[in-house]
Symmetry: D2
Subunit: 364 residues, 4 copies
């Protein structure tokens, strides 16, 4: 089940960039949740192409239809099928890519693995696949918004070598993130980032960056050691996204530069609650949430498609060159923000259900 | 199934630091594999405590018994149960830890999640749990050694702020890794690392570090998009290990500092094979191995147990202090090397089987 | 994942009787399989309503669309999403059923389990859900037809108390099964069955029956003990179908009336192959296929909807009566034949892939 | 994971008839459950060999050890590993069976599937594997006994052609079942059954039978349509047991002889509860428990091992004969009673946890 994610709140995505459409089936959704397309569409709008001057001009409204699992405005506990038809597909634009492998794309590996592939727009390897994830994540978000105080906020913390100041200093809110097209909550940094992206595009080049995400107000106890640790499932969720190259939680790679006496998060009693004085753990200890913010970062490589001629090989393995074409983002990171949030919310809901089933059901 | 890992080559680990023992059941192992305890014991020796002057002095021979799944020296395809009894347990040493939560350990989260825990030596959250992983990984390694040319080599690339030169310059081999107790293949760096660890220990402190791992000679085509990408499963495997805080593949977080024109791996035809001129992808493109070395890094935090008095809270949430005791590693990274290799080999075999089942079985 | 079936060849069904539509996502399908709607539609035609005088008159063309996973007429190894829109829905017809529980239907249990349900036509509990299964099964059938000699033939062996002679005497073929609307390969029996169904309908009553299924030309070795035995997965597949009350393989319940000396299937060497002289095992021994025909039977209860007034209770638990309405089959068994075949073929392909992954991949 | 059963309350069994031992790992057990070997041993005593004059004389105490997951007498929510060493193994007794396939045993299919097998006592295909199931089932039983009023009672309802009167007339209790060695709650029938078994044994022959099982006091709402229906998971659980040939729930195969008007279970309000006047549904409607007793039956074939000379083939496919030897049960059905109960209790607990996770956790 390579296209299925989650144990209890499960999503199954399908679709290619230029096939009939893309979609998702959500299995295991709690019943009685008020739900309509209006809950899904805003999240899709945040990831859709053409949303701003720094994204691909491909025009897709990404209008979602809910085909099952909802009756009279509330979920029934049965599978929720959601569908977005592809509109602005230009299959003809990909004839050259059918024969030649784009560097650092998945063309060669898909071709070799499966022996047959849909080359149009990258087919299944296109980031368009993430529509299903975002649609499913919107349901998870709705659950959390109605049944908890959990708030998941992702934002662009770095583009190329332009990094924002530490989040603790900046102050993070949904409004400050959405205040600019690059989704960096620090206005000055955002401006510089936008310039850098435009500059790259003007040269037919691309840039990458880092997304930081904070999950606030989680209960203590989510995460299922030893393999399904909370951060392990987050790591898998993030590395399953196109263009990601790294994941870290809490102190991350920098944490390895500290000594134990510097790194440990000391417990204290704060207003009757057990809390830690620092949060280098990133909200997880032993694979289980400890009540602090879960903080993690995801590294995205620069977009592989650049509008330059590059050496490559063709289907027969013969060396050739390929000129980048098509409508692409010079930087995928701003549009990846709602995708990171979606995957995080899916992990939260799934683990909430798992925790409840084993540890909060029976009393002896 | 939080203690089960893998889809086809599946492991199920069990056991606590000071319970009766630790072990693993391997389900789905191919039959006819020559196997005995002699294949397992050397890998366990690489992770066992007391192996050198820079590890914990706890004395455990970690003698493994194979209880099922092998007949007349070859596997039968049925579950392989492997067991290591705990010997040098000192449950009495943990009476204080029963009442007080050790900072940056899993005591508090386990207590809150489950409401009841085995506090001795960290119970299930102890790194002793990884014995089962290493034993299972030794079987995966044996499969790969007999049926492929795949070679998985992990090594310590950084301890605290002491980093070895790039692997490409050093040259990596099993011998150079095992040539010193810190498992860094660069002799001079290794010496400095060992000093740093000893220095930390002498101050009752601890240090962390980074392990790099290379998987060589993989076939093209392993990895199951979209969720079970090869690097996604590696990321989950690594973040499921105690004390890990980050994972990156190929260019990783540094890759976000490059432009697309600098980052792309250009294809070429090398001696009749499609290869890339560089390997910033880290051997995976679109979640699928591309025939280059898979290269990834794992960040480990400094050991949480330090021999210093630290503020904390107790079971009732009352603030108190705790003096670190017990026999612990001042740095877990050298002993984590065989564990990282084990998890990597488990991912490889599992994905090999998955790839074969879907894409190499039927011809139409 | 209650709506997901299979381990490697996985299907995920969704949809309600009167919602937007019904469908299925097939994950793990081997690539390069020639596939179009023309492969799916004939199987759907065999299960669709209104196909004959003894089925419900509901008019549904059940025209299937393949939305993903196929490119230029061949599968790509990525998820195949298939969709059938509902046409002849009459939601208004179900207003009474919204308030009153139909006897021996799933109304009461769905209402109590989920707290909210789609009552129209039974919602998710409708046999209309099986469209997704049949569509997916058609793909499995295509795989088997191109890559093996496996042939799966289900047929009605009993309606009410009218049973056909033993299959060995009758001779079973696709043609003889499809020669009549009741799908019994014995013409005389078929005629009597049809009469019995018409008679029941004329009285506003219903009848049940038994479907027998034979899977021919299976290789030796399919089935994964101890839990995923071939017959265990068949049993689950069949008992997951609406209206089924029993499953038996080989000698089944009658087998318990024989002594060991009468029941054992003696091995012989037939033309160089190991075969059994009898087949009371039903083609499976120890949970693994032995090369003989897999033979199993499934019991279906009489349709719960009858056009008579019956006592029942309403949403508030108050006793009342309900007059059966709607367009229903007086006997579901003839239309269940392609569904049983579909589920059987899904089990075969899934197990074929599992067998190869573990036992036919590596040589030592 | 062919040796793993359950989604949330998961068991993983291992071991062969004459290897080092047999055991099970239980993953997902709720914490704080009082548990010791004393809870397990009585159930193992009910299935152990040598317990009465009508079972095999093999002497095994089947003393179980709990190696993990329990601390100070209560479960910790971590994996529970349980182990039984094999004692009275006589590997030498199986030299002939190494070369010749026993009729209607799993020797031939295991040999062909895996290419290598443990032939001693049937290896993994031995019913000795069920020790792990019974040990795990004892934990499930303990959970249900402390946290619910659920009671699962299996009993022998038929041996060969000797059937007991309907359970409703007999009255079923744990005491009446355990009152005799054949585990039939009707004393007169039990006596005749015992005679029949002895008679078969005296002739070197064997007999089969039917076990009926009732699960009382289940809540409404267990079962996960569409694939993981309660009865579908029961069917899989039962058909995964050695020697089983059939499963039916409620009216079963006989139900197909009734008309809808005769078969439907009419709802009524009984003392404020919605109940059905009859129980031909067998306690499940639409795959979900309806609050009535879940009633199912399992058919067991006669023991394949008989003390007679039978024709067969050898490893090379050459025809030969084999004289049955070894210590075997002339009828496995009485010892299968606790195994059926164990599997049923595992299904109940697993579904209870699933139901709560999805449908009883969040309120909107």
């Amino acid at each position: 089940m390579p296209n299925v994610f989650g144990k209890l709140f499960t999503i199954s995505t399908w679709g290619e960039s230029h096939g009939g459409g893309v979609g998702v089936v959500v299995d295991g959704c709690p019943p009685n949740l008020p739900l309509s397309e209006d809950d899904i569409q805003p999240e899709l709008a945040r990831r859709r192409p053409g949303q701003s001057e720094i994204t691909t001009p491909r025009k897709e409204e990404d209008a979602v239809q809910i085909l099952s699992g909802v009756y009279e405005g509330r979920t029934t506990g049965t599978p929720i099928s959601m569908l977005v038809f592809n509109k602005d597909a230009r299959p003809g634009a990909y004839s050259e890519m059918k024969e030649k492998f784009r560097p650092s794309h998945a063309d060669y590996t898909y071709q070799t693995k499966y022996g047959h592939r849909n080359p149009e727009g990258g087919g299944r390897s296109s980031a368009r696949e993430t529509i299903g994830r975002v649609a499913a994540g919107a349901i998870a978000k709705k659950i959390l918004s109605l049944a908890s105080k959990v708030e998941t906020l992702a934002y662009v913390s770095r583009i190329h070598d332009i990094a924002m100041p530490p989040a603790e200093e900046v102050g993070i809110s949904s409004d400050s993130i959405e205040a600019n097209v690059v989704r960096c909550p620090h206005a000055d940094t955002a401006e510089a980032m936008i310039e850098r992206i435009k500059e790259a595009r003007s040269k037919g080049d691309s840039v990458g960056g880092v997304i930081e995400c904070r999950i606030r107000n989680l209960p203590v106890g989510l995460g299922e050691p030893v393999f399904d640790r909370f951060e392990a499932d987050l790591a898998k969720a993030m590395l399953s996204l196109p263009a990601t190259k790294g994941f870290e939680v809490g102190s991350g790679f920098e944490g390895a530069l500290l000594k134990g006496s510097e790194h440990n998060d000391l417990f204290e009693n704060r207003d009757g609650e057990v809390r830690t004085r620092s949060n280098r753990s990133g909200g997880v200890q032993g694979g289980i949430t400890n009540g602090e913010d879960v903080v993690f970062r995801v590294a995205f490589k620069p977009t592989a498609t650049i509008l330059q001629e590059q050496p490559t090989v063709d289907l027969q393995g013969k060396e050739t060159t390929l000129m980048g074409r098509g409508r692409h983002d010079p930087c995928v990171v701003p549009r990846a923000v709602p995708i990171v949030e979606a995957m995080a919310n899916l992990v939260v809901v799934d683990h909430w259900m798992r925790q409840h089933a084993q540890n909060r059901l029976f009393s002896f």
